[in-house]
Every structure is written in structure tokens, then in C-alpha cells.
Symmetry: C2
């Protein structure tokens, strides 16, 4: 795809993280632990920081969570976004207690006056608001509208809110409009990126499902959008761990060639020619590479005949033979080692790079 | 994305499975067991048939595998493709022993005469040939060519072979040109689809890596291509189980809205509002749905407040509360059940649909 085009949106700051305006596409997640448990939340945040998470979101379901939310914001190494539904007072409270961004659906916050009170609070705190609409929470007016497709309804909902925000002089906006199916999500974001060209887009497929289905839906949907230059920050939604959400988010950016965090692993799918137990070897290599930040390409190949040649562009690699393996670099064989020593030998060589 | 455009290629038959010409995009895998073990191969094939695999490929590394290959072809419920490198005699042998397709890289089979002998054998057997080129096995001439990008080299390699095949009157062709990075793979297939508009394309990202990375790379790469109408049959390459290759292949087609095999699962990512242990419930539902072929949409939502509304388009769903859950259909609550009974109650309702 060569150098991907990037739609140039204006830049919004989420704490210290820039979103839009040519900034790297950032990776977010949302905690699933109760916001009232400050220690647990902070330990979850510490874990996902190590995996590359850059922005974290927490739900504030009631007033009881406002005080602990404030303590989390104070201690968190990442900017914290407050996720608010229905009660505008919670949004105002979160803005006062250190939220780096608010996420609301202005359609379910209780009328224009209350939306405006939230805008005032965010303006005073100097933080952006994400207008987050999704397929299941459209305003009744649009839900009932005839002759409009769901992407058109979602885009119209967002556009209406953006117009209102801007008419009030509030331009510090990020928008999202997610559906739980990929074609609807892709179509909606294409419309938004055309109709609101300057507004940074938070992209995601909502309620995408369990680990496998959710990984595939997020990868297909966000991959298509990113390949078209659409998207400034992303969240992968999984009914699974937040670790997986962050890791999959990074894998999508790496697959698109947009950002790189860990060495690139090339590993063959094994076939009837493979005479070594390759899958556990590749999984071990993948797990160890996740802790290394050298921008190199590492190959794990199942056969000495095709391996070094097919992975000639790898900086370092192994190819499995019968009970032994080759270590190679840029297609040239360096040495032969017994099978049990192959992973250690590979990481010895990686250490020397 | 609405109705996806499909590039209209001509149709090739792989055994009883049509590829191209508007046929559904088929799902393939390649066995990693030794072809010499006929019983093991047949049991692997039986397993992936149940997961939706439609074409299966086996390696023939030496003459010793030809006889067992023939027995596998005879007993297999799926069309069997012979994967051949270097030795044209193995390709001829496979054609004679019941292969439904040959996969060769004409650049490594030993010169034009030998390629022509393979064409004659395939023509006699009435089977198609897949010209399978990849980044690591380009002809030296192209590998050394200056001023050409890798996608241009891969496309040129394929084009040269297609021209030669057609000049010999052999048109029963499928082509593939895979790289192990997504941007190169996407760019190459875009070129092939423009330059060889009638030729069916087998799409895939090669050596894509272990389960997570490989799933993401295949989903991003094949998702982008399928969304552009490119691709007639696919294989997901994972350093992992062939079961996962087939399941991920289907998830990609389902995510693109191209085909559907199982009910659609919508499940929320859980958040600080969730008061039920949702992840194991969703995984259990996903596993049980994989064995049901009703074309319905099923929702597993973590909260009784947002759940039924956000999943109003689901035919049936559950929403978790505190120790209990709601069963709902099209956004309307049917009944309340205790948490331990929630999955059973859901499948009771699915049974009634």
C-alpha cells in the first residue's frame, strides 16, 4: 500500500497524548474493573502501560465513583477518559476531578441545557470531549427516520452534535460512531471523514465479540479504515482481557505499517515438510520478542530447504531440520545447532545485533 | 460498505468447488502432518470439514509421498491440492494420482520444458494449476532487477508465467503472490487484479506468524482486498493449528459480510458497569453457537441498562445484572433468570426460533 495517506485532522490533546493532526494513531483500552476499586484500577493501568496502551477509559456509573475516579486520575501514568451515560452531573464532576477527556453521547445526557453545562465544564477544565454515538443509542428521531441507512443515521447524529458544540464555541472534539458490524462501521467512518474532514476520529467496532471473532472484526474494520487514511486513535473492543485489546490494537497498526513497537516476526505455517515441532518454538519466540524493542525482522521457518531463502529479508532467523536447526541472517547460514538449543541461540544472536 | 463489489474472474473448478466467476469465496487450509501418514491426514481433513474447510492442500516433498497422496485423494471428502516445489516429476505424479489442483511456482520447477510437461499432465487430468509465487522465491532475474518495487516484481513474475501458460493453450489457472507483510501483499494483489482481470486469485498473507499476529495480519490484508472485490479463494497462514486457520478464514468472510456460516454473536467488552462474569459466559455462548447454523444474531451484553437497547437488532440476547440476567428479543425483555441458568435459558430460546 506504500506510504499510507493520512487524513489531516486538527490536533486535540488527551493529557499529554496528541490525537489527530498527523500524530501517531494511539492505542486505547477501557477498564472493566469497578472504578470504585482504585488500587485494582491502577494495577490494571500499570499492566497495560507495559503493553503499549496510551490512553485509558473508565466508566462512571454513579456519583459514588467520582471520588475514586479523581484519585485514579491523580496517580495514573496514562491520561484517563471518563465514560458517562445519562447523567450530565457525572460528566461535570469528572471534568473537575482530573479527567483528560470526557466521552458522552450528547443524545442521552438529558437535553441541550445539560449538554451545554458539560461543554462549559470541559471548557473550564481545558479538556476535549469525545462525541461517542453508536448503533444502539441513536436519538429516537433518527432511529425512526425513514429512507436513511444506518451509516447515514449515525453520521447525521454525530454531525448534529458537532454543529451544536461548534456553535457554542467548543471545538475540542473527537468523534466516534461505532456499529457492531464491520460494513456499517466502515461506511459510517467514511462518511464522517468526508463530512467532518478536520475532526479527529476515534475508530473501533463495538461489541465485536469474543477473542477470535472480535480480533478479526476489529482487524478487518480498522485495517480497511486505516488503509484509507481514516482514524486518529483506536480501541479494539473484545469480550476478553484488556491486555488482548491493547496487543491486538498494536498488531493492527503494525500490520498496516503505521507504527512498530516490537520486532517483526515472520513464521511459516508449517507443512508436510516440517520436521521440527515449530508451533511451540514460534510461540516462545513471539513471547520473548514482545519484551524487546529493536526494530528488526526475525524469522522462524519450518524447513531448511525453503526457510533461509524465503526469509532472506529477515535480520536473523532459524530454520528447523530433523532434530536440529540453522541460524541464518539475511538468507546466509551462520551455524547449525541442536533443536533444544535453537531458541537460546537465536536470542544470543539477537543480543549481538 | 454496502454490497461489496466482486471482480468477475473466470471460473475454475477445484474438484467440485467452483473458484472465481462469482462463486462464494472458498476457505482453504494446508495440512502440516506428513503426507505419508494417510490415516492421520484423513482424520485432520474430517475435522476441518466440520469447521467449514472447502479445499485442502498437502505437500509432496518426495516420490515417497506420491502413493499415500493418491490414497488420500481417493478417500478425502474435500478436493485435494498437491503442493510441489523443485521437482516437476512430483507434479506430474500428483496429477496422475487424483490431485484436484496443482500448486507450483513455475520459477523453481527446473526450466520451461519441465513446466510444459506439468501443463500437459494437468491438461490430461483436467485439473487447474495455481501459479504460486511469493516474496522469498522470486526468479533471480527479477530479484536482481533494479528500479522495481517488490509488488511490481511479484506481479511481473506471475504475469510472465500466466502468459506462458496461455501461450501453451492452458487457461485453467489460479494465481497467488503472497508476501509476509500486509502492505506488499495488498499492493501486489491490486496490481494482479488490474493486470490479469479474468484470472481467479487465491489470496493470503504468507508466514504471517503466531495466532494473534497471524490472525491480525490475515484479517487486515484479506479484509482490505475483499472489501475491494479482490479474491476468489483464501487461505489464512498461521504458525498454529489448521483449525484456527479455517475458523479465522470464516470469521474474515463473515466480518466482510460476504458469507455466513454460524449465528452472529454481538457481545460487549464489559466495563465498570458490568456486574456479571461476562467473559466465560460469552466464550461458552460462542463455542455453542459454532455448532448451530441458524442465520440469527445473538447478543451477550454486560449490563441491563444499556444491553437490550444497544442490541435491539439481535434476534435473541442476554444482559447480565447482579447475580441474574435478562433474556431479551429485538430489544424487548422476555424474562429474568438467575445467573447460573442464563446460558441454558438463552439456548432454550434459540431452540424455539
Amino acid at each position: 500500500m506504500g506510504e499510507l495517506p493520512r487524513n489531516l485532522t486538527h490536533r486535540v490533546m488527551v493529557g499529554s497524548v496528541p490525537v489527530g493532526g498527523g500524530a501517531p494513531v494511539s492505542v486505547q483500552t477501557m477498564l472493566s474493573t469497578p472504578t470504585s476499586d482504585v488500587e485494582l484500577a491502577l494495577s490494571e493501568i500499570a499492566r497495560v502501560v507495559d503493553l503499549g496502551c496510551e490512553i485509558v477509559r473508565l466508566a462512571i456509573p454513579s456519583e459514588a465513583e467520582l471520588e475514586p475516579f479523581g484519585r485514579i486520575c491523580e496517580a495514573s501514568p496514562l491520561p484517563v477518559v471518563a465514560d458517562i451515560h445519562f447523567d450530565y452531573k457525572l460528566a461535570i464532576g469528572a471534568a473537575k476531578r482530573g479527567a483528560s477527556k470526557l466521552r458522552i453521547n450528547p443524545g442521552n445526557i438529558g437535553g441541550t441545557d445539560r449538554v451545554d453545562a458539560v461543554l462549559d465544564a470541559a471548557g473550564e477544565a481545558g479538556i476535549p470531549i469525545r462525541i461517542g454515538v453508536n448503533g444502539g443509542s441513536l436519538e429516537q428521531r433518527l432511529r425512526d427516520a425513514e429512507g436513511m441507512s444506518l451509516p447515514e443515521k449515525l453520521a447525521a447524529s454525530v454531525e448534529g452534535f458537532v454543529e451544536h458544540f461548534e456553535s457554542r464555541g467548543f471545538g475540542d472534539i473527537v468523534v466516534s460512531a461505532k456499529a457492531h458490524d464491520v460494513p456499517t462501521t466502515v461506511e459510517t467512518y467514511r462518511m464522517l471523514s468526508k463530512r467532518l474532514p478536520g475532526v479527529p476520529l476515534h475508530i473501533g467496532v463495538t461489541e465485536a465479540g469474543t477473542l477470535r471473532q472480535g480480533t478479526v472484526k476489529a482487524s478487518v474494520g480498522l485495517g480497511i479504515l486505516l488503509a484509507e487514511g481514516i482514524g486518529d486513535t483506536l480501541r479494539v473492543s473484545l469480550t476478553g482481557s484488556i491486555d488482548d485489546e491493547v496487543l491486538v490494537g498494536w498488531e493492527i497498526l503494525q500490520a498496516c505499517g503505521l507504527r512498530r513497537r516490537t520486532p517483526e516476526l515472520v513464521s511459516c505455517p508449517t507443512c508436510g515438510r516440517t520436521q521440527i515441532d515449530l508451533i511451540p518454538i514460534a510461540e516462545e519466540v513471539a513471547a520473548r520478542l514482545a519484551r524487546i524493542s529493536k526494530p528488526i525482522k526475525v524469522a522462524v521457518m519450518g524447513c531448511v530447504v525453503n526457510g533461509p531463502g524465503e526469509a532472506a529479508d529477515a535480520d536473523i532467523g532459524i530454520a528447523g531440520g530433523k532434530g536440529e536447526g540453522l541460524i541464518f541472517a539475511h538468507g546466509e547460514v551462520l551455524r547449525k545447532v541442536p533443536e533444544p538449543e535453537i531458541v537460546e541461540a537465536l536470542f544470543d544472536e539477537i543480543g549481538k545485533l
